[in-house]
């Protein structure tokens, strides 16, 4: 029972970081229709930045904020390159974000080296029903809940958030209402960068981050985002939690090395199932 509780909570925490990366995918995709392959890169950049800031003696809080702001700036830069040129087809934009992810490797190695980076955020552990659970897991879960509440308020209450939602549901009508889709796209990329950065800052204390950790983060985040068809942040949260807990249980009770297969297999199954549903919808319409 105590083992199960450990797996459950660690899975929820890891799942939260997947959900944050995934909601970054969603934030960008719903406005621009671009799947941003560099989504994992933002997390890596933020994790490494926070690590080196803390190494330089900056206090907790400030270091993380700087790292997340940097990730947001990276998101904006990625957006300018990927969608800034009018008329770039979305599939071109996907391959461009791929290029950005590869280019980021070069920068990351020069700035931070190719060794794993980690740091401590919350020390100690909590005993619940006989299980030792790292405090960091609770920090991640709590922070994620707060971030998702803030995100939903941002999308539903703030002017920019409403404009983003308008662009997502109908870009043409949004343009008629005086909203500039490219500017909204860039804002979406910035939001995506910030969300990726938050994920990176939270996950680095749990698992050391290397420059090429972005592929695993991006794939898991994408798998989480796919639950809602890449359009609903709340579905990405559910997806991330399901994925994280499944992986933790597989790793705990069966074999840690099979957790990737399980996660990816789940993602493939969901995508194929959704595609089938989509096709049948199309057939009905015609």
């Amino acid at each position: 029972m105590s083992a199960f509780l450990t797996y459950l909570i660690s899975g929820l925490a890891i799942g939260c970081t997947f959900a944050l990366v995934g909601s970054g995918f969603v934030a960008i995709h719903r406005v621009t229709r671009v799947v941003n392959f560099a989504q994992g890169t933002f997390a890596v950049v933020a994790g490494m930045m926070a690590g080196s800031m803390l190494g330089h003696g900056l206090p907790h809080g400030l270091a993380e904020v700087i790292a997340v702001v940097l990730a947001g700036a990276c998101g904006l830069a990625a957006g300018v390159i990927a969608i800034g040129k009018p008329g770039t087809p979305t599939l071109s934009s996907l391959v461009i974000t791929l290029g950005i992810a590869i280019g980021a490797y070069a920068v990351e190695i020069v700035v931070w080296g190719d060794q794993p980076v980690s740091y401590q955020m919350a020390r100690g552990s909590v005993d619940i029903a006989g299980a030792h659970i790292q405090t960091q897991y609770f920090v991640v879960i709590g922070a994620t809940i707060a971030i998702f509440i803030a995100l939903s308020l941002f999308f539903s209450r703030s002017y920019v958030g409403k404009a983003l939602t308008a662009c997502a549901s109908n870009p043409y009508a949004a343009r008629l209402a005086g909203i500039n889709p490219i500017r909204m796209g860039l804002i979406a990329f910035t939001v995506g960068g910030v969300l990726g950065g938050l994920a990176g800052v939270l996950i680095t204390p749990l698992q050391p981050v290397t420059f090429d950790a972005d592929v695993a983060l991006a794939v898991n985040g994408f798998a989480a985002a796919i639950f809602g068809g890449l359009n609903k942040p709340s579905a990405a949260l559910v997806g991330g939690l399901v994925l994280g807990v499944t992986e933790a249980l597989v790793a705990g009770y069966y074999n840690a090395s099979y957790q990737t297969e399980v996660a990816l297999g789940l993602m493939l199954a969901i995508m194929i199932w959704q595609a089938r549903k989509r096709l049948s919808v199309v057939e009905e319409v015609h």
Partner: protein, 390 residues
Amino acid sequence: MNAFGGATAGGTRHTRARSSDRLRSAGIVLGVIVGVGTLVLPLGLSAAQLTVYVLLGTATMVTVGVSLLMGYAGQVSLGQAAFYAIGGYTAALMTIHGLPSLLGLICAPIVAGVVAGVVGIPILRLRGHYLAFATLAMQLILLSIVAQVDFFGGELGLNGIPLLSLAGKELSDPRAYAYVVWIGVALVMLVTHNIIASRPGRGLRALATSETAAESAGVPVTRYRLTVFALSAAFAGLAGAIYAFFLGYIAPGSFPVLLSLEFVVMAVVGGLGTVWGPLVGAAVITLLVQWLNGLGTMPGMPAYASVVFSYAVYAVVLIGVLLFLRRGLLPTAVVMLRKVTRRRTGGPVGSVESADDDVPVGGADSSSSVDGAEDGDGHIGSPAGSEAGR
């Protein structure tokens, strides 16, 4: 359903035909020069240079498949290195267990193609970004399985793969592999050329433009998509087998995700949906990376310099081409050449024509890269006549 647009444009038709005829014959001459040149080249190369030659060749073979897939069938594969790996492992395992190496070489593309055919049935239900991530996931799953199963050599990989032997003679000279690769590249390009020129090829172009339209015009969309997927996998499988025999050692680490991305970079840079584009793309990228590698290992450079350079090259070239030369290097060069020759022949540069040429075409965007495909394929020489056109 005429997928060949714009080749005959009103009054300037004759001028255009003449200049394109001239370009076509220039292309054939160029193709022959490249063919003969690459055939003679290995004689003068050192062992290290031969290694680059062979790896460039195998990369070209895979990239031809990627280019066909992206340019003609409108599908992005981010997992092509998986089929490269399947080919390599098939050939390696068969020869290690005592089967003739030629059989391994023949079976590698077949196994890769069959695996792609089976995997493709569910995966190809997906489109666009979803398919791209699905192929990536497929590669990650494959690598993870290979690393855990002892039969495949696990994380350490397979050592001591026997040399390739043809007609009872072991090929131990790297030069021999250069010729094996040359034949492989020629074969892959020939097959691709014939497919493009055939009726299914036209069906594929239609499919890349609009699946619904193609389907309603009687193109068996699902079957064609699956066939191209399997074929591109078979190309990669053949390349993987040559790679395994040449190096004598393969491991899951030989086929990282980055390798798949490299193939995409090469395909996009060379020009999607062209026969010769992949060769151009693979050559440009490989040689650039080699040159920077040399630069990076010079004294005084930090230890990470060559790695950083290669990442930077992939990123800069890929993004630069996608933003500014969307058709890719080869088709862009052909369009420029055509403009130059037309001006020189003094033909009227009709408004219809120039409008036709200046249509912005998307690189990775399937529908418009079809135009790029025509430019590249139709005018730069083709390796063989198109009997398949019938």
